[in-house]
């Protein structure tokens, strides 16, 4: 039995690695890079080899070169990976933008075609290779199986298994199977959570990071891989701007003047990746973006570890990945995925214990730039967070006075490395008016000057100020009763007819009589276990909804208590956790409150998304809050209770338990039913219908109407792809000359969906198909989709 092993990484200058090995590695790298170049220039499409090698060439290799250079010397492994990957993403977006603007001046009309991009890739890799030779480090991400403990190996195998099961589960559901495989994956994830806590003291941080990455990836893929086409809400529009860029071989705001089109993370970046890896385009988002974003929880863990111990940090990550938005919505928000990576990496850089103040500030600024060009709203929330945090930090100074009377040894220095530079994770100085001004400058430069897309946020702010309406219910979709929403839709139809020539819409006499009754969202059927519980008198449906509410309110409560607890402890000690960093959780909490109480902002961003972003900052605070709540039962029991609560929340938020019981709202990653399935899942027949419509001559001369979410019906044919065109098909809004698409939901059950824009509410109703049969031509059908003209 071996009881010792080397430290996970070694640091210092180069010289230890054998020269022969390095030469061989460089030779293999060169050969593989040449293979990628050959495949791209010769248009060779090898099914697995090109995607794998292409992704390696565009992301993994440059990140590896940075990772193994001395650029991040004396940083932790997770940080190194995060800095490297994010810098590569920023370089890709920046270089793509440069060739997009410069090459057309030289007569290259398609600067984002595969040829220019592979050359850019070559230049990036070559530059980084030269940089690494000049600034070497000996760190190497090698896997030595002899160093694994049995617990580590079990965790890794289980985590890898969840990824495989998530992929199999999604495929099984896509082929009309059941969600059992995904359910098993979720159960294993819960078990991994328990064992991660159980074996914390015999598991290295590097292994824990790998486990976190794999579990996160499994969660993301279980949703992102649903459907063979683009599935989801925002991803539809993200895919549209991606396709606009790829089809034209160039990015331009002129193609579609929209804030989505201003996000380089969903225009230039996916185009660059797609041209090299050459997979079915939706899989750039469905797979490769998830491979990148699964890194975020690892970085959240590293950030939590700045100030909290491993237990708190592990639970903080569990809250981050267990929050429903992480695996039900983030795979559909690819721009926010990339932006969140930058935000997290920026915070890691700003709190880096071994970097100088100037380097930390510059790094945070660069990360802010990456966040802004990736996703405008994430940056707005980040700036808002900084502003609120700054204001509260000023107020906090009135209450927290440094204890000068009795100087104590700095606890952060107690464990500093002897004989080396001190490491003190601090945010000191990073949170400043200068930083906020710099970020606002970045927003202004990119959003206003370069892309002219800040109009939306300005109008939202104006609306928020002038409307004066507030809501105090977090995590609630709102929107009013179904009947009131339907009445509003009818009113919208009447208003649309004001001032337009008769014959533009279907006759009011007909549409006003057409019945469109509201349909209730069905729950999943009770399972055998659920029936047993019901026979014992337990109302399963009520229990499920109660658990959902309890989870939501508990997290809010824990957050509030955690903030108060840390503030009081800081006041007592004369120093807050992390100093200024404490105010960031306060700031993001303030932003969540603002988004919650001002509905016009919530419509644009959403409380859940803000809370997910907030968990980057306040995940550990929630853990502290949960332990504080249970403190009266004793310290050890409180810790056990905090773990149990976290596990319980995951079991419910992942819908593991509700799925086992039944009578819950069906989730997309476990069912071929439910709201997300009905609204955002594109069947093969629907995809064929969209393709047929897109290829029709003069298709854009007429309005295109479809069920909510209309974005998934946008034509992507190169001859007809433009900006957002599809509008709601609610009967009172149907144009006489327009195209009307009825998807598989109408074909199967006669049900369609509509969004009432003023209340942002979605209703499910029976579509009066007979109306279309009487007044329009049925021009296309495939058994699952019908198109009228």
């Amino acid at each position: 039995m071996n009881y010792s092993r080397p430290a996970p990484v070694a640091s210092g200058k180069s010289g230890a690695a054998p020269i022969a090995g390095r030469v061989f590695g460089a030779f293999v790298t060169l050969v593989l890079a040449l293979v990628v170049n050959f495949m791209v220039f010769a248009s060779v499409d090898l099914p697995v080899a090109r995607p794998v090698l292409g992704f390696w060439f565009m992301v993994v290799l440059p990140a590896y070169l940075l990772y193994t250079s001395s650029a991040w010397r004396r940083c932790g492994l997770q940080e190194r990976v995060g800095y490297s990957v994010c810098l590569v993403l920023l370089i890709l977006m920046a270089s793509g933008l440069v060739i997009n603007e410069v090459l057309p001046l030289g007569g290259v009309q398609r600067p984002l075609a595969p040829g220019p991009i592979i050359i850019v890739g070559d230049l990036i890799n070559l530059s980084l290779y030269v940089y690494r030779i000049r600034h070497p480090d000996t760190i190497r991400p090698r896997i030595n199986f002899a160093e694994f403990s049995k617990e580590e190996f079990r965790l890794l195998v289980a985590a890898a298994l969840t990824v495989a099961l998530a992929i199999f589960g999604a495929n099984n559901l896509n082929n009309g199977g059941s969600g059992t495989i995904t359910l098993i994956a979720l159960a294993i994830m819960a078990l991994i959570g328990v064992l991660s806590v159980r074996w914390l003291r015999v598991t290295r941080e590097t292994v824990m990071s790998a486990v976190i990455y794999l579990v996160s990836l499994g969660l993301l893929l279980s949703t992102s891989l649903r459907g063979w086409s683009v599935t989801g809400h925002d991803i539809q529009q993200e895919y549209l701007v991606f396709q606009l860029t790829q089809v034209h071989g160039r990015w331009s705001m002129a193609y579609f003047h929209d804030a989505y089109n201003a996000c380089l993370s969903i225009t230039i970046l996916p185009t660059e990746l797609a041209q090299i890896i050459n997979v079915d385009n939706p899989y750039v988002y469905k797979l490769f973006f998830q491979l990148l974003f699964a890194l975020c929880p690892v970085l959240v863990y590293a950030l939590a570890r700045r100030y909290f111990n491993r237990g708190v940090s592990t639970l903080a990550v569990a809250y981050f990945v267990g929050f429903p938005t992480f695996f039900t919505d983030m795979p559909f928000l690819n721009r926010q995925e990339i932006a969140l990576l930058f935000v997290t990496v920026g915070l890691l850089a700003a709190t880096n214990p071994v970097w100088s103040f100037r380097r930390r500030q510059v790094s945070l600024g660069i990360a802010g730039l990456g966040a802004e060009v990736s996703h405008y709203s994430t940056m707005y929330v980040f700036v808002g967070t900084l502003v609120i945090a700054l204001l509260f930090s000023y107020v906090g100074r009135l209450f927290i006075k440094p204890n000068r009377g009795e100087p104590k040894p700095d606890p952060t220095m107690r464990y500093a490395r002897r004989g080396g530079r001190r490491w003190v994770p601090t945010f000191k100085g990073s949170l400043s008016i200068g930083l906020v001004i710099a970020f606002i400058g970045i927003v202004f430069a990119w959003g206003t000057l370069a892309t002219k897309t800040t109009g939306a946020v300005v109008s939202t702010a104006e609306q928020a100020i002038t409307s004066g309406s507030i809501s105090i219910t977090a995590f609630d979709s709102g929107g009013g009763s179904d009947a009131s929403v339907q009445a509003a839709l009818v009113k919208d139809g009447l208003q649309a007819r004001v001032g337009v020539p008769s014959g533009t819409f279907l006759p009011w006499s007909a549409v006003s009589k057409a019945a469109a009754p509201i349909v209730d969202v069905p729950l999943t059927p009770l399972t055998a276990i659920g029936r047993d519980l019901k026979s014992l008198g337990l109302p399963v449906s009520t229990l499920n909804s109660l658990a959902r509410s309890l989870v939501a309110y508990s997290e809010e409560l824990f957050l509030a208590i955690g903030l108060v607890r840390l503030f009081l402890a800081g006041r007592r000690e004369g120093r807050l956790v992390g100093g200024q960093f404490f105010w960031l959780p306060v700031g993001i909490t303030g932003m969540v409150v603002v988004i919650t109480v001002v509905p016009s902002i919530a419509v644009d961003y959403g409380v859940l998304r803000a809370f997910q972003q907030g968990l980057v900052f306040f995940g550990p605070v929630i853990v502290i809050g949960s332990m504080t709540v249970f403190a009266p039962i004793g310290k050890n029991r409180a810790r056990i209770a905090a773990c149990a609560v976290c596990l319980g929340m995951f079991l419910f938020t992942s819908t593991l338990v509700p799925q086992i019981l039944g009578n819950n709202l069906a989730e997309l990653n476990l069912n071929n039913s439910g709201n997300y399935y009905n609204l955002y899942y594109t069947t093969p027949q629907e995809a064929s219908g969209i393709a047929w419509l897109g290829a029709q001559p003069a298709v854009l001369n007429y309005p295109i109407q479809a069920s909510f979410d209309p974005r998934r019906w946008e034509p992507m044919d190169p001859s007809s792809i433009v900006g957002e065109r599809v509008i709601d098909e609610y009967p009172t809004l149907v144009y006489q000359d327009g195209w009307v698409i009825l998807g598989s939901m109408v074909a199967k059950s006669g049900v369609s969906f509509a969004l009432e824009p003023t209340s942002d509410a979605v209703v499910e109703y029976k579509y009066p198909t007979e109306l279309l049969n009487n007044y329009k031509n049925l021009v296309y059908t495939n058994g699952g989709t019908a198109i009228y003209k």
Partner: protein, 201 residues
Amino acid sequence: MPQQEKKHSGVESPAEILRWLVVRAEEHGRRPSSSGDGQPDEDAEVSQYEPPRWDFWLLGTGLLAIALAAASFLSPWVRHEWSLSWQRQPTPYTQLGFTSAASLPTTGVPGKGIPVSFTITNDEGRQVSYRYVVASGSGTTLTAITSGTTVIAAGHSFGVGIVVVPKCAAASCRVQVSLPEQAESIDFLLTYPAQSGKKTK
């Protein structure tokens, strides 16, 4: 690397399991974010461990692979589940649409022919012999005007362009193209200007 003969210090009790959950003010910034600076985490006793039993893992993996292979060979249900989980299964369907839907005739002259062009696309995953029927009428009952049969290979399309003379009793005349075996149909309405006062599309 010196060998340290220490007793394996795994976690023994619930209280010990959760000792790490302590958060005290004096702990702030106590340890590196990770194995930063090349130092292992100080609280995690990572230098003491018991390696995996590789023989068990190899044996277990081998047995599992054999069991899966045997189950796949013997059970059609397992094979079916494998195929569902590994790769995309074809969704059989047939597409039927007018070739130029935006320029369908809207008016006609009684007794004169009108052009009708439509396309059948076979996505059934196998070769199919399609029978199409073109019919017309003014009410709910339509009368067949012409029909035809065409064999289309899987994944291919076939365009039909014909001229038909609708047989309609009223000004409003529906022309329908159907695939009876597939229970699919498309249609359009045209009017005869000489006969007015009827509902039009």
